[in-house]
Amino acid sequence: MTRYVLFRIAWIPIGVLLVVTIMFFLTHLVPGGAVQVALGPHATEERIAMVMQKYGLEKPLHIQYINYLGNLLRGDLGESIVRQKPVVSEIGTFLPASVELVLLAIAFIILIGVPLGVIAATHKDRFLDFISRGVAIGGVSLPQFWLAIMLLLVFSFQLRWFPSGGRIASAVSAPRHFTGMYILDSLLAGDWAALRSALSHILLPALTLALTNISTTTRLTRDGMLKAFKEDYILVAWAYGVKPRRIHYRYALKNAILPTITNLGMTMAYLFGGAFIVETVFGFPGIGYYSTLAILQQDYAPVTGVAIVVSVLYLIVNVCIDLLYVVIDPRIKY
């Protein structure tokens, strides 16, 4: 068993290496393009050459690659050419916001998606089944940027319930820094004004992210429960006189949850990917917002760095889920 764990953990650096390689070669197809954009149309040739030399951009590609890997091992993700600031520290500033957003979105997904799946399963092939599945699929079909704008139109501009962007009102100061996640920090500091402001700013983005990703969860929950229903032990419970609702929630749901949890790893990857658009539309200062701006400026070190960070998170989460599986399901042995 320990062998399996070690094996899985050993794959992580290889996965990261692959990610780095892909991103590196992709972004270096266009040599020095970022510099042009970063320095603006009026930059002199000397200035450009100077900046290129500073970042080692005129060296041959494989040398740059090796240098990049070397820096990576030292924890250096390069610098943003436009802002001339190290990527690592910038990611450090922006990451907690995204993590907060993704976690809240996952909470929403579970709170909305799982009950929908249960309703769909318990009313299989009847009206409610189609409605639930329809809502789930409808969610996925909505373009995230559009849903974001629509929600803003209705809830922000029309109803004025929520602010239209940012992470916290400018009038309110950020809570004391513990984790960088405003909600957590303001709870820990007892700063209610900050908490209220942070919550109202994060709600719409998290909802947007969640609504567009519930379909898989709903489908898995529904499928899982339907499969559990067919099992003999459900029939035995029913024969014993256990109330149907209890059967649904205690027995069937427990088994249906398993695939949903596994899927959470993939969902996380999607969410981080989806965060790019949502954060940009809401002006929510997370890593998605950070890298999107960088991409539009053809400044690729930030996005490469973000991709690496996200992939590492993704790989770690997947390993954790696999290990969790071994704990949860006693049938699985490696």
């Binding site: 290889i14 996965g15 692959l18 990610v19 390689t21 892909i22 991103m23 992709l26 972004t27 197809l29 266009v30 393009g33 189609f130 599945r133 329809g134 699929i137 409808g138 996925v140 079909s141 909505l142 373009p143 995230q144 940027f145 559009w146 704008i149 629509m150 803003l152 139109l153 501009f157 029309q158 990857a269 999607y270 981080f272 990917g273 989806g274 790019f276 658009i277 940009t280 890298s291 999107t292 991409i295 539009l296 053809q298 690729y300 996005v303 973000v306 991709a307 996200v310 992939s311 993704y314 790989l315």
Partner: protein
């Protein structure tokens, strides 16, 4: 090679899965719009008319006009052509590459499989939209480059699904018999394995069309995809965004269009999946 009983069987199965009927209807409707666009659209989608800027929906302009006076409804109608073109191109490339690599990985196993799967894992670990954005930005902002960027992201999904479908068949008795008969690898892959994977491949193609459309709308929204003056729906939302909240029609209708078409593709894909699963059980 399908039997005569299949047609009635498919119709029967479709009746049992009404969602797929909805999906197929939507796609068919969109196809009609695409083909007959010149007759359905009331105005020229590219015609600028400065006197008619930012008009709200009316009888002459059912969806209003945009910042340079173009009729939004006509642009939406013509946009169906663009959307089909994008979806089908991306999925076409993606499936060709993905099916081939997935089949090779599943069939040969060993080093080939390991290599292909590791590369696929690498691609999958990167948030796909980010990858698409970077690719689109690197290649240059245009429709064709966006297609390549999206295909670059999409093939991995196809490869994985085909690979698992192939693995299921690969170890069956049937393959053993083929080997005994002396069939060549090429014959086994192309005549037997891939046709038997057609079901999952078709489901995937449909779903992928929908998801590609969403991504392409997103990319165009950010400016990394389709460029003006093409009537891409994502682009239209971006163009209209600055005139909110007063001129809501600039953003609402293109979004509904995206939603409708994507829903059509996704429902169709789900429906096919239901039918196939029934057939298996």
């Amino acid at each position: 090679m399908r039997g005569k009983g299949t047609r009635s069987y498919v119709l029967y199965a479709m009746r049992r899965s009404p969602l797929s009927i909805v999906g197929i209807t939507l796609i068919l409707a969109m196809t009609v719009l695409a083909i007959f666009a010149p007759w359905i659209a009331p105005h020229n989608p590219y015609k600028v008319s400065m006197g008619d800027r930012l008009l709200p929906p009316s009888l002459t302009h059912p969806a209003g006009t945009d910042i340079v006076g173009r009729d939004i409804f006509s642009r939406i109608v013509y946009g169906t052509r663009l959307s089909f073109r994008i979806a089908l191109s991306v999925v076409g490339i993606s499936i060709s590459v993905g099916v081939l690599l997935g089949a090779l990985a599943g069939f040969y196993g060993g080093v080939v499989d390991l290599l292909i799967m590791r590369v696929t894992d690498g691609f999958l670990a990167i948030p796909s939209f980010a990858l698409a954005m970077v690719a689109a930005a690197v290649l240059g902002r245009s429709l064709n480059n966006m297609v390549w960027a999206l295909a670059l992201v999409g093939w991995t999904w196809n490869a994985r699904i085909v690979r698992s479908a192939v693995l299921r068949i690969r170890n069956s008795d049937f393959m053993l018999v083929q080997k005994a008969l002396g069939a060549s690898s090429a014959r086994m892959i192309f005549l037997h394995i891939i046709p038997n994977c057609m079901g999952p491949i078709l489901v995937q193609a449909s779903l992928q069309c929908g998801l590609t459309l969403l991504s392409s709308a997103g990319l165009s929204f950010l400016g990394l995809g389709v460029q003006p003056p093409l009537p891409d729906w994502g682009l239209m939302v971006a163009e209209g965004r600055t005139y909110l909240p007063a001129r809501w029609w600039l953003v609402t209708f293109p979004g509904i269009a995206i939603f409708t078409m994507v829903t059509g593709f996704l429902l169709t894909g789900d429906g096919i999946r239901d039918i196939i699963e029934r057939e298996v059980s």
